[in-house]
Symmetry: C2
Subunit: 552 residues, 2 copies
């Protein structure tokens, strides 16, 4: 894999067979560029893990070839892994202004803002790197300033869509660059690397405009305060909320750290507009007539520490939910968050609010008809469905086949697959190291399967530590056994069980000693086995058992 | 609460503010009857817990008054808690034949089948108990032989719907007893206690007939084997699958313990029909032409140990997924199971199957229009929306208000609320002990908040056990400190960190000893605090720290 002369390789390092941590490597000759560097949130079996990023072993091995990182937009699943990549490979980062604004904020938190080289591009930029020419094109998505990339190579042009939808009536008035896409399609496109997130959804994704109408209606009719939550990065939707508030003479307060940050950045960079008097300090919300107020809040996913969730459980410092409040969850639950969202809604209802939690959302990803439009405009020779779990990639592939793409020209890739293009033909060319790196606190990759297995065991039935001191001289028990339990049973309720367990350890050890067994490993194994069997019989549980044998 | 003369009390002990563990107590004078005794599955924060049942403290306190348990149908959320109740209070259990067939099986597993008194009823039964007359009426649901109860009392009649939908074209031809409901409505109903599960869903729930048409179409068109999974208790749907298989000359094999059991019970009791040659042994599936075979399987919820999930990950003893297989998930994911279901679908696709996972399902619960029909037919004076989380109860209440029920006559109850009816008037009359009992293995209620908190901590960052032996004479360290870690870091990767931690504990103890501090509690607190702070600084993690100080 060391050489790659006159051959284009496309290597997904994240975002295939999964939702999240998007990252794709393009390699021609002696040059590599990376598109996106995302994170994803841990699966439910990754106990204690904070976030997950792509394994970048292959990038580190090839750091001398990497020329730049191109970001499609400012969502965490596209930029959240960037600090970890830049720490290993400091190359220029290219993206649109808003995306770089959000990136800067993130790099500052990681102490990397001084060393990073951020280069702003727009829909007219053409960046020349080695044999690559990279030009951005605008698409619609649930955050402004989202682009895809046309990557020209000696083998032909590759269209990398990034996350996209086609919104004919976007909030910022900037439609996707369909004419550019059509022009490339007319000239001939080697390959399309396309977002599969909504490939299972028939029809079209509604315009954000439809959400605006709903927001307007809610604010127009609300008798008191309106508390609206959505994704902190959905600047378009926040713009709609601010517009509607202004229309009905309401002031706007913003709560929740990430939303405050994003709104500040967007206002500064001109991606969000508000009249000078509209935005007020969150400390002043209780001074205003409730019917003159809209509160924008984080927490639309029921995140336990978010502003809305704290309000819902009456634990917010500044805002208390009262009857007469209208609370809007302008979002739909991300898979896995359903229960948290439901809990928040219930708590808000109990507190007396009128809760509107359906119908105030439109996805940022194109549905089947829009995916067909993209395929139709671009007319690619080869097709790589990415950004999706396997069934989404598979369904996206089926759409492409319906539109006439040769099934043999479609690559449903896994992480690290190398798709090679040479002399106009593509083939699957092996694999590079790729996968998942778990981040727990400050630790990057220091939690592996053994640690996770132990956490799983500990979480199910807890742990018993058995401490005993044996005489160096005779081998007999000098003190103990003492059993300390955590997460197993409530000790006061189970004294008899633990007393029995104690006696059992004692007789087990006594018997071994009288049989002249003295290797600690044998003693420990005996304690673990005997006690484990006894406890399973009595409780049908299997706590972790940690025998500690001392000598004195 | 000891006396209840000439007053009717309705007390929800489960199934309000939650989905699952349904249980309602009816009390008049000296007599109590219980409707349903369900379980629910643990929330995601109840680590290691197997199932959850209602707190029955109040029933145990009043065991001399309890005359019987009436079961509406055989689903776990209505019968799963029964063994735990019968162990404390052995009273007669009344239900339809199929429900009792499933109950018998369950009681056998708990060794209670000899002591239990099961009494079969049907849609014509009237059971007289004290001042109660209880008559069952048929409703439609996703398991046959489902009934609701009309409970006549001196205060008036209460209609307890249980889970229901109105299916005009049910698989077994038995429609809900709408004429009985209408007749009660005409005479006057004191209160309706109604299922709120689908209260958020507009329109009508489709008939099971529509699922049958889809199943027929899939089997007619499938080129090879068809593997169909659904809830093991959905006998109607299994009947549709068997019918379609027979129509197209296919044999049927059944895999998955619960489905095998349910199908046997249903065949024996006459709730399921199959031609004598249709059902074959699962051992024979590989002897048949794939196009002549349908396999019915558990696992439609992606349960990790179920038959379908094992097939999907190529770990099933008898059946391997091969290209050409058609796999049908005739279900929709229960909230919380979405990720498991998605994983199973992806694995099946990867194995080459054609997977059909949408559109082969109809809910067993009535949607808003059916809930309105029930309210309309029954015309209750009072209304208790039950079987649902708060927002579903709230939405169901709003439907009732739309239909003219007086808002002051609606009780959105919480667990243990007592709704009292006296002289034709109802009021909220206090609370009885009620709540949640967690079952972990054989332990009923022996896991409480402290144990769960420890499991949570252990699951996040693991545990460090610090062992040190001090001299009885001098207080100085004789051996150790030794640090044993489980679930914290992968030791081989973090030797330096643990070495440092070791030294820190040593110097901390040495300093205390030289300061003449010798109480073990002070020494332990110092170790826990110092080490905890150090590890948090270094790793941003907070493992549980268990100092063990010995003397010799």
């Amino acid at each position: 894999m060391a050489k790659n002369r006159s051959r284009l390789s496309i290597i997904p390092l994240g975002g295939v067979g999964e939702i999240g941590k998007n990252m794709t490597l393009y390699w021609y000759g002696n040059d590599m560029i990376i598109v996106d560097a995302g994170l994803k949130f841990p699966d439910e079996d990754m106990l204690g893990i904070d976030i997950v990023i792509p394994d970048i072993t292959f990038l580190v091995e090839n750091r001398d070839k990497i020329r730049g990182i191109f970001l499609t937009h400012g969502h965490e699943d596209h930029i959240g892994g960037l600090p970890y990549v830049l720490r290993e490979i400091n190359v220029p980062v290219y993206s649109t202004r808003l995306t770089l604004g959000l990136v800067e904020h993130k790099l500052r938190e990681h102490g990397l803002n001084d060393s990073a080289k951020l280069i702003a591009i727009d829909g007219n930029s053409n960046i020349q790197i080695g044999d690559f020419t990279i030009s951005a094109f605008y698409v619609n998505h649930s955050i402004p300033d989202t682009v895809g990339f046309a990557i020209e190579t000696p083998e032909g042009v590759v269209i990398h869509t990034g996350d996209f939808k086609f919104d004919q009536t976007p909030v910022d008035g900037r439609q996707a660059d369909v004419h550019k896409l059509a022009a490339w399609g007319a000239k001939g496109v080697l390959a399309l690397v396309g977002d599969s997130t909504n490939a299972e959804r028939p029809g079209y994704t509604p315009s954000e405009l439809s959400v605006g109408a709903k927001i307007d209606e809610i604010i127009a009719q609300a008798p008191g305060r309106v508390i609206m939550s959505t994704f902190a990065s959905n600047i378009h939707r926040l713009q709609l909320m601010i517009r509607a508030a202004e229309k009905y003479g309401r002031r706007v307060a913003v709560v929740g750290r990430s939303m405050v940050n994003n709104i500040q950045t967007s206002l500064q960079l001109g991606y969000l507009e508000a009249m000078p008097e509209t935005l007020i300090d969150a400390d002043d919300v209780n001074k205003l007539d409730p019917s003159k107020l809209v509160i924008l809040s984080t927490g639309s996913q029921g995140e336990p520490m978010s502003a809305l969730t704290r309000m819902a459980r009456a634990a917010h410092r500044k805002i208390e939910i009262v009857p007469g409040d209208t609370v809007v969850l302008a979002s739909s639950p991300i898979p896995g968050n359903e229960k948290y969202v439901a809990r928040t809604i219930d708590q808000l209802f109990r507190a007396g609010a009128n809760v509107i939690y359906r119908g105030v959302h439109a996805s940022g990803h194109g549905s089947q008809e829009e995916l067909k439009w993209m395929l139709q405009l671009v007319r690619p020779k080869y097709f790589l469905p990415v950004h999706g779990e396997f069934r989404m990639q598979r369904t996206h592939a089926d759409l492409a086949i319906q539109l006439g793409v040769d099934p043999d020209h479609i690559f449903i890739t896994e992480l690290g697959d190398v798709v090679e293009f040479e002399d106009g033909r593509a083939r699957l060319g092996g694999k590079v190291p790729a996968g998942t790196v778990m981040i727990d606190g400050l630790g990057v990759g220091d939690v592996g399967n053994i640690v996770l297995r132990d956490r799983k065991l500990l979480s199910q039935d807890g742990i018993l530590v058995v401490v005993v001191t044996l005489s160096k001289a005779t081998g007999h028990i000098l003190s103990g056994p003492d059993i300390i339990s955590r997460g197993f049973v409530y000790v006061r309720e189970s004294e008899a069980l633990l007393d029995e367990a104690n006696k059992l350890v004692e007789t087990t050890l006594a018997k071994l000693v009288s049989d002249n067994v003295s290797e600690w490993s044998s003693l420990k194994t005996a304690v673990r086995d005997t006690l484990g069997r006894y406890l399973f019989e009595q409780t049908r549980r299997r706590p972790m058992i940690l025998p500690i044998i001392m000598e004195a």
